[in-house]
Symmetry: C2
Subunit: 436 residues, 2 copies
């Protein structure tokens, strides 16, 4: 007999089916036992009636322990009016086979009671079976799906940028070093420089893969291994990519609301806050942001970068993401195009998520003149030989272009309403956390 | 004036538009100049008539050099019957602005003439602009899109597995080691072990990301950094995942034929060979494969693994991929489920692409009994402490499951008909090749 998945159970009403999965929960009341099954696609309550099954089967069902693996055969029934059960259907059990009964004296480590976070992280390989982690990772998948669809549907070409990079371009303090045969390589922190090469070949490109940062402090916003999507557009200006970022975020939020609403409910997310994410997003200049922060009590001074606390303060003032643009060039990377009207400013943008979540996107227009990029590389004391190929892009058919990067885990944290990024990725990697 | 992309030019017939891009080629005949533009989405022939533009503009157009960046404004015209031009449309030029003219005495390094492969690889950041590399990477994108759609549409959950792994599970010789704060980490070679954990949480899962192999030999099939997609299915058997692999490959080939036929033509691929890729794919047991190889002159003996030459020999005998199943357990990884009828065999499958391309998929059914997995870890002399979490999957609700992995670059090489995998990824990484 083939088996059916719980999320398709409503198609089999009145029919006999087999479900394969694990015991999520169980309760009994004398002559009736209610095992709840979990198969990865949903939850299903089964009903074992003492006078409908053999005495052996009834005893077997009584002994079931959490996360034991099972094959349950029975008839699918719509839950009667006035009763509730997960998914709206129940299974009248006819047969029940135990794949593996977890002994009651060596139970599944994660129980419905409270556990400390380090314990849960040590058992991450089992913790992901819990309904909350399951919901977060389903939302994560939907966000990634929405990201890809957004760019694919708009004619972008996915061009994977390399993980192994030859040079420590911006100092080695946050880079992971790898022995690469007789050389040293570094794990990528961003695909952007390579995106600039591929944008000249394909016009509109994106890369999407893991990026790495040897973050030595423990914060709720940082992982050492995280996924980033980065679009780059030939002939785009700062204004163009601000509009792109706005459409992009709106699309992602709408996709999650459309496809993963029930998961947001499991997470007790305030969905109304996400439903309000509509363009236009406020455009706030750095100058205005500094004024606003000072008025709110920050000790920021013009010319400095925002700290996490500043970003939180700023983003709490709005009900949707804000586009903070034109930071002082001195706090930004070497490749930023200066504002022609005020060369001390960079044509860049950070997108801050609302509700205090802070930066989820950073980007801008790239410097395109050979002389300027060469000079900036010198000023930032970067090794010029590492940038030979990058300068070729300015020697051969240089062109205006702009792009941005979004960290997936920060977007998941915001959309799911999570305190800490460690729950946004299946197997988080942080300082002191390389296992399981 | 906003600009239009060349792949949408047919919508603007008779209208005046601006195209932004690079000079792909140019020819002239006295009173008429034909610059061909490239914008990443296509090629467009422009027509500059001496008596339709100013003398200055005509002189400017004459001086254009390959890959100079341009803005060309003109009227879109359908190419008359009997004439040919890329894309079927031309642009009657009214204005032409030069973004950057590449000096004729320092020309673009890659010209239509022949270059050596090392030269081209050194200039990979520019080489990707050529029509052949452009076509390969467009096919690559389509393969990746098809992979994701296949699994997303069949209810699989994307669950990213970690890049940093804590233990050298299968010997350190082909692993890249990374200093991870005060510890050592290794770059992943496969997400499979983690997929087995996530399959228990989600039922059907896949991971898709870069994987790493410190391959010390130079071969046409190996990169040190390559992308792999790996599905894993709870309660699936070897037969189930052989059928899944068959559907999967068929879907990918059909998607490329549907969406990237013109790129295959640029590559001069024999498309009829791809059009013949239809299920069922031949199932060939290891026993039969050994017999067949011996008859073809291989010196393979029963019990040994196939070399690249054996795979080539085998796959040349079929017009579609073949599923070679049930290899001797001794040549396969520790986690394979033995065949109940012949325990010396593993319930595994390798898929060999036709035309001599060899292995593109490897997979099988995973051992699910705690005792067996524990014993195999000892037999393979693997560090048991590294597998504590993996054994938990057998302690807590163990379940039959199966999956496979497909290397993207080998699939691209086969579908595009390439000699070497180095052209299948934007920035290949190999022994002696870490740049650009």
């Amino acid at each position: 007999m083939p088996f059916v998945y719980i999320n398709e159970i409503s198609k089999f009403q009145g029919q006999e089916v087999t479900v394969k999965g694990w015991l999520y929960n169980i309760r009994s009341s004398g002559k009736i036992i209610f095992p709840i099954l979990r198969d990865g696609t949903g939850l299903l309550q089964a009903i074992v009636l003492k006078n409908a099954v053999s005495p052996e089967l009834f005893e077997r069902a009584k002994e079931l322990t959490q996360e034991s693996s099972l094959e349950v055969t029975g008839t699918v029934r719509k839950v009667p009016e006035g009763k509730t059960a997960p998914g709206g259907h129940e299974l009248d059990v006819k047969d029940l086979k135990i794949g593996q009964l977890i002994p009651a004296d060596q139970p599944f480590p994660i129980t419905p009671k409270e556990h400390g976070i380090e314990f849960l992280m040590d058992y991450r390989h089992l913790w992901i079976r819990s309904s909350r982690q399951h919901a977060i990772l389903k939302v994560r998948h939907e966000i990634i799906r929405a990201v890809r669809n957004f760019f694919d549907d708009r004619g972008f070409t996915l061009v994977d940028t390399p993980i192994f990079t030859p040079a420590a371009c911006e100092g080695t303090t946050t880079l992971f070093e790898v022995g690469y045969f007789d050389e040293k390589a570094y794990l990528t922190q961003s695909g952007q420089l390579y995106n600039e090469a591929t944008a000249a070949a394909f016009g509109k490109v994106y890369c999407f893969g893991p990026t790495f940062r040897a973050e030595k402090s423990k914060t709720r916003r940082h992982l050492t291994e995280f996924w980033m999507v980065e679009p780059e557009v030939a002939y785009a200006t700062l204004e163009d990519i601000m509009a792109l970022a706005e459409d992009f975020i709106t699309h992602i939020v709408k996709s999650v609301l459309q496809h993963r609403r029930s998961e947001l409910e499991v997470l007790e997310r305030d969905i109304s806050k996400l439903e309000g994410i509509e363009p236009p997003f406020p455009r706030v200049s750095y100058d205005e942001a500094v004024q606003s922060l000072k008025a709110s009590g920050s000790n920021i001074e013009w010319g400095g970068d925002f700290g996490g606390a500043d970003e939180t303060l700023l983003s709490q003032q709005y009900d949707r993401p804000i586009l903070v643009h034109r930071y002082p060039a001195q706090v930004k990377a070497f490749y930023m195009e200066p504002d022609a009207n005020r060369p001390e400013l960079a044509l860049c943008v950070d997108v801050l998520a609302p509700e205090g979540y802070g930066e989820i996107i950073g980007g801008g227009q790239r410097a395109s003149r050979l002389e300027l990029v060469t000079q900036r590389i010198q000023e930032h004391q970067l090794p010029p030989e590492a940038f030979d190929w990058y300068l070729d892009l300015r020697k051969y058919g240089t062109f205006p272009h702009a792009g941005f990067g979004m960290g997936i885990e920060r977007a998941v944290a915001w959309i799911c309403g999570l305190e800490h990024v460690r729950e946004t990725i299946p197997f988080p990697r942080m300082l002191y956390r390389l296992r399981p």
